[in-house]
Symmetry: C2
Subunit: 178 residues, 2 copies
DNA sequence: TTTACTATACTATCCGGACGGTATATATTC
DNA sequence: GAATATATACCGTCCGGATAGTATAGTAAA
């Protein structure tokens, strides 16, 4: 297997379509074209649009879960490693964040039940964050503030200057260790 | 004018459709039915779907702006009145919050430029929050944490227990006055 | 009679998904 | 090893239904 599986390629294409062209252009034709496959081929792998979105959410939940977990494990300081990892990953806007947003929007649009894997993720993280030696309330507030950044970026609502964003980032990290 | 203007009724109906049935069901027919009007009547008031969504966003931005401002003015304590108002309104989940979410999602889906009034609102509030006697960084973090609650409720992603939510609320309010 | 509003009928486009095929690889049987 | 069968992966067309938007004729009130 020298390349990503076709399924994963399709899922990435779907995220790309949403990110670049919006939910209303998440059509089977558009995804097929972006993935370089025919519509028939797409439907072979995902028998319906809903199945496609389901796949998107599951895939991104898996990726994100691993990313945060690996990041937390790599931290030499155990205390607060999960909340630190969460803050890190959210602030370091990567392509995964975009995929996350695309998946969230797609699931919310197609069928809110498809958000379940994200709900599970959210609760898992909260569980970790509240049980790693940091005052739970403080940890929760740091987490929520991080989610606030996420909201602003999801809707591109608040053009926070990079410098200011980095300051917030630093303050949140410092708060963890106080 | 003993009743709301027809336009406003239509805008409320549109928000309701999005809240109850999702973005993909924000169709002219569905909005017309929800508003108790014909499709022709709807198109008389809003000549296109985009115009309708534009109307939604402008209307909710106006309402929200007034609501936060009134709340801030009614506060006997000047210091921190805006951030307090912002936290209050966001935590007290009202129908306006639902409308806000519906409008955000609709604008994001139809044409992200339509989010401009929200961008303006966001920056206005930030301006107030950073200049009312509270340490700007602290105020920003409180605001972001509040937005985190907003994100969770927008996607119904985190089933925070009401009790816990109220604790967070209280802690944020207390932080303002520290 | 103008303005504000409503209703109905219709058009053109788009989209999900079904479907009939094709190509290739691997087993199985004789 | 030739012939037959089966599974997997993929392609491109077609169709019914939904939807945005148009055209037009009407009503109520000021």
């Amino acid at each position: 297997m020298g390349r990503l599986s076709r399924k994963v390629e399709i899922l990435n294409a779907a995220s790309k379509v949403v990110s670049k062209r919006g939910i209303f252009n998440l059509t089977l034709d558009a995804v097929a074209e972006e993935a370089g496959i025919s519509k028939g081929g797409l439907l072979y792998h995902f028998p319906s649009k809903e199945a496609l979105v389901e796949g998107m959410v599951e895939h991104l939940a898996k990726n994100y879960r691993e990313k945060i977990a690996n990041n937390a494990e790599a931290d030499e300081n155990q205390r607060g490693s999960w909340i630190r990892s969460y803050v890190d990953v959210t602030f370091n806007q990567t392509y995964e964040n975009k995929d996350m947003n695309a998946g969230l929007l797609a699931a919310k649009a197609v069928n809110a039940d498809l958000l379940d894997p994200i709900r599970n993720l959210y609760e898992e993280w909260q569980e970790h964050i509240e049980n790693e030696g940091i005052d739970p309330m403080k940890a929760t507030i740091i987490r929520l503030a991080t989610d606030g950044i996420w909201l602003a970026e999801l809707f591109d609502i608040y053009h926070i200057e990079e410098k200011k964003k980095q300051e917030v980032y630093k303050v949140l990290l410092k708060l963890i260790d106080e």
